[in-house]
Amino acid sequence: MLNNVEFDLQCNNIIRQFDDFTAVDDVSFAIKKGSFFSILGPSGCGKTTLLRMLAGFDDPTSGEIIIKGKSMTGVAPNKRPVNMVFQHLALFPNMNVAENIAYGLHRQGINKVEIKHKVEQVLARVNLTGSGKKQIAQLSGGQKQRIAIARCLVLNPDVLLLDEPLGALDLKLREHMKVELKKLQQEFETTFIYITHDQSEALVMSDQVAVMNHGKFHQVGDPQELYYQPDDAFVAGFVGDSNKWSAKVIDVLPETLKVKTTTGLILYSNLIVDKPLIIGSEVEIFIRPEAVHISQTTSTTLQDNQLNVKVNNILFDGANSQLLVEERNSNEEIKVKLPQTAQFMHLKKGDWLQISFPADQVKTFPKLKQTS
């Protein structure tokens, strides 16, 4: 087995079985030193179970967790070089800020003077200088967040685990904390493992993201890879916004596939090299709203897919505005991005448009077996 010290954390074939339910199903990965790694998945996908095994609160049924080249099998949570920021932070309410941060240092048997120094230092690094005497209840949501992280980072762990800590915050603060977390991670150069069901959190902060569902990793890659080159239908559907249809392959051409959705919309998609499809295969197709080009005039340059559509609805949301349009022949509804330019300012319901997109923007995947 590969015991590379360049990796802060390695998981080899982790399986966690509960009676007749497999929460984590043969997961293997390695995380480079100092990187921000996210595990993204819907609730119940097994990501919390995986994180708890890394922290040591749960043991894998089989498989091995290696941190900094040392096997963690049989190592208790208080002996592991990892610390965890809990979903609801779990700051001790009976202690003030400084006591919360000092808790772990006391356990390491460090002398009082040094503890005081370290606490002040870490408070300064999270921009909360002078808050040591405050009670936990006096802090705002964002401050609690930073104290919870400081409480772990002061112990200098090899890996910091974060269990959806931004879930309880309101939208504005969450946006702010995303950036802050990323900065903290870069400043401390600690390996972060962040689990979340919020794809935007994962994409914004991470160096690497693992997309997880039903206990398995579907794809591990950097955010761009996941967004632009999803490996399968689950990743394509879960990461980012997409038009998603079930379809059948009706023709295999030298360069492209011809597919037909259940409502009869015919589209051309690129061939998938590693997964050859035959005529009649059940597939799922995905098109990102921003990949669709819209125009009010009928263009003459030939695109792979050109459709005439009627505007059904205008969903105005500033820069994220979208149009819901209906294709003329199949009545299939398509979401497209509405550029906020003067050209489309006077667009209204019922207008006719032409939309076009190249075949390589149509992602086609074999239909996944329904396993839920």
Binding site: A55, P77, N78, H88, A90, P93, R107, L155
Partner: protein, 293 residues
């Protein structure tokens, strides 16, 4: 609601509140305050001639002059404190097990199992202990049967037996508040304690105990007061040697028909229980209102 409607509704609400509070106010006044004041009044009277009474502290002076009285008094207080501490030590692991270790059905079942003995009256439960512990009782016969002892052994009428009975009859009042408070302690606090490098000892003293402190104090207050004022258990399990202060009060009121002396003892018992509870709250730095809410 506009201003006039608000103004109009104010008087009926006040009347309603008053009517709602009436039963509790009456109960407090008639059954708690009035008898205590009467008792205080009686305790300070001295009979100088038949049907002639004078105010004096002679009843209290009598208490301090007679060693049996204040020895019994101190013994009762100390035994009650020991019983309270023992109850806490035994109840804490039980509560922790029910609240934190068990899940689902087993949890409810064990909690109910703790409650079930209390469906039977204290008298019957105490007689149950007597059947087990008396000279011709179950335990004594069993020890003779397996050949561990030659003759019958009397387990009743010792301080240990009284303690056993007191702890047993108070257990519920400690287990219930502790279990519900420990239940409200989120597991993540305990996990965070371990995660940050704590061991079982530090997690227990720095996380679990501070969280459970109000319940510990309120459980202790209730158990202490019930034990101090207990009459049945010490008399039945301790017999003549029980020397329990409530027994002295009973003797004064019923046997000797000395209501003045009995009242003085009653006032003293109330004073010491208030004093010890106050000390307990001071030592644990808890406020009475916080503990009882």
């Amino acid at each position: 609601m506009n201003m006039t409607a608000k103004a109009n509704s104010r008087t009926p609400i006040k009347l309603g509140l008053f009517l709602l509070l009436c039963p509790i106010l009456l109960w407090l006044f008639l059954l708690v305050i009035l008898p205590q004041l009467t008792m205080l009044n009686i305790s300070m009277q001295e009979r100088v001639a038949p049907r002639v009474y004078e105010y004096s502290f002679s009843n209290f002076i009598e208490f301090f002059k007679e060693p049996l009285y204040w020895n019994t008094f101190l013994r009762t207080a100390i035994m009650s404190i020991i019983a309270t501490i023992l109850t806490l030590i035994i109840a804490f692991p039980i509560s922790y097990y029910i609240a934190k270790m068990l899940r689902g059905r087993a949890k409810g079942l064990l909690f109910v199992l703790c409650l079930i003995p209390f469906w039977v009256s204290e008298l019957v439960r105490t007689y149950g202990w007597m059947i087990l512990l008396r000279e011709s009782g179950v335990l004594s016969s069993f020890l003779q049967y397996i050949g561990l002892v030659d003759g019958p052994i009397e387990f009743l009428y010792t301080d240990a037996t009284i303690m056993l009975g007191l702890v047993y009859s108070s257990m519920l009042f400690m287990v219930v508040p502790l279990t519900s408070t420990l239940d409200s302690l989120d597991d993540s606090y305990i996990e965070a304690g371990y995660d940050l490098g704590g061991n079982g000892f530090s997690v227990f003293w720095q996380i679990v105990v501070p969280h459970a402190k109000p319940a510990i104090v309120s459980g202790c207050i209730v158990v202490f007061m019930l034990t101090l004022g207990n009459y049945l258990t010490p008399i039945l399990l301790g017999g003549k040697s029980s020397l329990w202060f409530t027994e002295q009060i009973f003797t004064q009121f019923i046997t000797r028909f000395n209501w003045q002396q009995g009242s003085a003892f009653g006032v003293l018992l109330l004073s010491i229980s208030s004093l010890i509870v106050w000390l307990g709250l001071k030592l644990s730095r808890q406020s009475f209102s916080k503990v009882m809410s």
